[in-house]
Symmetry: C2
């Protein structure tokens, strides 16, 4: 009998998964929480075998909650759950001890496969997620280097629409310096121009 707990701030998702699982003979509904706090509160006096954990929580965020839960209760398996197929989050969840990751638009079969795979001690990714993870691993090899403190400042000001002379004035440095930082940003992030620089920066939440 697998005791399943779910953490998600969307009642319809909780209800949906509950509905999908309620007729499964080897699955028992352990409980549910809509915030990280109430989840942590529940596990003080209760337990479960697997936690289906949404990464988009209102209070502290799924990734951090995942880490805390795994530290306190290493025996509980955690299955990441999200609407999105974001390589970065998947990686972070795994680094924080999750045993797998599926999308909310997965089928019932996928969900059951994942639950069984994870509670058996395995690691499971649904097809689409595996693909995203692979692409992320590939693209993150040389695509997301470290941006220095100063470069990040310059990047932020570029995104706010300031020109190099204006940025130079704000940072009390020469225009040539800002020029250098800007060119280094383009080189480091391997982008062609300002447009792609800002697109990448916003998408990767660098600003």
């Amino acid at each position: 009998m697998i005791k399943v707990f779910i953490v998600d701030d969307h009642p319809v998702v909780i209800e949906g998964i509950r509905s999908l699982l309620q007729h499964e003979k080897d699955i028992e509904w352990s409980g549910q929480a809509m915030t990280a706090q109430s989840c942590l509160g529940f596990f003080v006096n209760n337990t479960a075998d697997i936690i289906l954990l949404d990464i988009n929580l209102p209070d502290i965020g799924g990734v951090e909650l995942c880490g805390q839960l795994k530290q306190k209760y290493p025996g509980i398996f955690i299955l990441g759950l999200s609407t999105f197929n974001q390589g970065l989050y998947i990686k972070k969840m795994m680094e924080n001890g999750a045993s797998g990751y599926i999308l909310k638009n997965s089928s019932k079969e996928d969900l059951l496969t994942a639950i069984h795979a994870v509670t058996d001690g395995g690691i499971y990714f649904s097809g689409e997620v595996g693909e995203a993870l692979r692409q992320y691993q590939l693209s993150s090899k040389d695509a997301i280097p470290i941006i220095s403190r100063r470069e990040k400042e310059v990047l932020t000001l570029i995104a706010e629409g300031f020109t190099n002379p204006q940025i130079a004035g704000k940072l009390y440095v020469s225009q040539f310096t800002v020029d250098s930082h800007r060119k280094n940003l383009l080189a480091k992030l391997n982008v062609k121009n300002t447009a792609t620089l800002i697109k990448l920066a916003v998408e990767h939440k660098l600003i």
Copy 2:
């Protein structure tokens, strides 16, 4: 008896709402679809009183589907449904004939209130949505006008890093034309330069 149809590409959401509504005496489950195509197919031979419509659909997008449905079946009410609280989409849905908008993390009570309000011919926004819409209206005084088809094409290519001459080549038009579109984009969206243009575009999911 209110016949409810739902369009959403997430099985758990469909199941969740179905579960929430199944014990309501005045509500009848009309059907469901996971794509815009199958939704349009359903209504050729069937009908419903209200459609709960997700705006994030894989094929043609909820906003356009909303418009098509309203054009063909003006008597069916449409209630927008989404995970996000995006003023722009809410406005577009309303412009395409929707009668209201709620978030997927709304409570059961909110959902029922919305369904009844809309099928009575009213307009309903859940609290949070109303707030977002108000903020959007305030900020969109001159900030988010309609971007034309061609402008969106140009915007997309700018975001991909192409220069005006390159874009002109791809679209088989003169460089001067692309120049015009680009300047119009800056003017319409009230931004200073490419950096702020792309930032706004990515944040508002225009590309």
